[in-house]
Symmetry: C2
Subunit: 362 residues, 2 copies
């Protein structure tokens, strides 16, 4: 596979320009670009600039509003529901997390459900906003239905990620950021491109039989919940995904389950919506609402050290702390740049031509 590498700065400018051409206010364009770039920097290539044309296509179909009036529509001291006005999730989500953080500053914690939004990028971005304030950050979102609950032969849930992030002392934050499916859709797409089989336990075909063919998902199959089958706890993955769906959408007034509108513009949203747009859920808790922040960080450092030094099965491998690989990617890519596969560069440059901005010089 051919890669071209670009500096963070170049991709950031490019992405900002695309969002400006969409009509986003300048602050929104900068923020949305920051969320996408954070994903590329952290090595989560599936959720970064590779999705930029996807957002543009939704905007072209008028399913994304470039100039949303984001509003708080319901509120208590520590809870709120935000209406994203069909804006970019990349803009709506940081607004909602900031509200959660502001409430936590005053009352110890803040919790915000969001309706009428769109894809919000990586969950980790939003949780890390809270970590920067010495808070625990929680973020989740529902997503287009791709996953069959245990026993089902139907896609009723998205890969519905949940993310918990904790500030450490001398180590990077612990960031648990995970799809609640056995494998995220991005992994299947990689296998499709390479035309290689996928492990049993990731997907089932249209008849509900486990399949190792990565193309079965597009042929009417489904992804499987974390746990893969009942014996190995797929009802737990399904339960977690249901939790994300209920907190993000049943609580906020967004669409849930099979009614969640698809991210891809070539599929139309259901004609019988049960809510507005897709939903997210955010939380922020001040560490010093429970114990002095430094005590927490010292103990989390101790936790990290104990786990990193655990006895392993393979002496060549060690236990990985959640968020550690992404942190290492970010340090490296800030210096050496961000590699994009040729197909993504081609796609972005077609977009650049269409929107009248300077192409990426590979």
């Amino acid at each position: 596979m051919i890669f071209y590498t670009f500096t963070e700065q170049r991709l950031r400018e490019f992405t900002e320009q695309v969002f400006l051409k969409m009509g986003c206010p300048e602050a929104d364009a900068k923020l949305a670009a920051d969320v996408l770039l954070k994903s590329d920097l952290r090595g989560i290539d599936s959720h970064g600039v590779a999705r930029l044309t996807g957002y543009v296509r939704l905007w072209e179909k008028e399913r994304i509003n470039a100039r949303p009036q984001i509003k708080v529509v319901h509120e208590t001291a520590t809870t709120a529901t935000v209406d994203g006005d069909a804006g970019l999730g990349l803009v709506v989500a940081p607004f909602a997390m900031q509200l959660a953080i502001d409430k936590a500053k005053t009352y110890g914690s803040g919790w915000v459900a969001v309706k009428n939004s769109n894809h919000f990028g990586i969950a980790g971005y939003h949780s890390l906003m809270a970590v920067a304030e010495d808070m625990i950050g929680i973020s989740m979102t529902n997503a287009s239905p791709l996953v069959a609950p245990t026993y089902a032969n139907e896609r009723l849930l998205g890969t519905n990620p949940m993310c918990y992030a904790f500030p450490a002392g001398k180590y990077p934050p612990v960031v648990v950021d995970m799809a609640t499916a056995a494998a995220a859709n991005g992994k299947l797409e990689i296998a499709q491109r390479a035309n290689s089989p996928i492990p049993e336990g990731w997907a089932q075909d249209k008849n509900g039989q486990m399949s190792t063919d990565p193309n079965e998902l597009k042929a009417g199959g489904s992804l499987l919940p974390l746990g893969s089958d009942k014996t190995h706890g797929s009802h737990k993955g399904y339960g977690l995904s249901a939790t994300v769906d209920i907190l993000s959408a049943v609580l906020s007034g967004a669409n849930y389950g099979p009614w969640v509108p698809p991210f891809v513009a070539f599929l139309d949203p259901p004609t019988d919506p049960v809510g507005e747009g897709i939903g997210h859920f955010f939380g922020a808790m001040r560490i010093d609402g429970f114990r002095p922040a430094q005590d927490f960080k010292d103990h989390l450092d101790n936790w990290i050290e104990r786990f990193k030094s655990a006895k392993t099965v393979d002496p060549e491998k060690r236990v990985i702390i959640p968020g550690e690989p992404e942190y290492a990617f970010e340090a490296e890519r800030r210096i050496n740049g961000i590699p994009l596969i040729e197909a993504v560069v081609t796609d972005l440059n077609q977009l650049a031509v269409k929107m009248g901005i300077e192409i990426l010089d590979a």
Copy 2:
């Protein structure tokens, strides 16, 4: 296997008497019995009266304090840390959840971390306290180390359950209550008694190799996180378990990871504790902090109906709503009584003789 069936009322009286003999105040004895009985009623036989002798043995070793002074040691408007004073988790946990509920009544949400506690029974009991107040209930606890994180050949985490409970309208509450391991220890114990193999993916032997022998856990092996292996997402199960450990113990000042004291009295706690006792974490959020409670319930009913009527792989099976089987068990056992296996009855009657209370008449 031989079962004897007892009325809820008889087992409740028996259990209360045991706690009274331990020296618990009457209100605490009633509460602790209520938590254990709820587990038996809900069909979670591993966490009910079958554990009663386990609590007594810890009390005999002076690792459970029958008359704790439970204290709030740190607090903001919506957050708190509780010191359980080495009391029964069955008593400390409802105290902490009640505090979370009280805070939520005033401020919309409440979050309480607990240190210096013991095993708290089923997580669902505590979450359902919030549901009874039209709130979302969240509960989790860390536990004795039995689970190896991805790549480890060491037990560093407990089966660390997390529970999310939501009030519905015409249907029972949705209760996601799950160990973050691929299979809970109780399932291995059943296989040990039956001397039958366990599925690959539940446990590894002392050399870190997957094993189908249920006795390997006691021979130095480990349980595996939800996901079973890296390919199927065991790093996600490990991440969830780590989240429970950090929220329950690093945040509260309890022991975490391999330092969590064992539930079984014949194993001594580590001599180098990093905190006090075991830890829990509770949350309560008012539904009407986000939208009118009736709107939420109507949509959750719709969610439930859609999932229950999903197309299934096997036409004889349907998609199960989280908490639905436990609710059915409770309805049935309240009428027909609670079946206990012979070994549990024998164990309880030996306890009765030792404590000078009336035996269960099988």
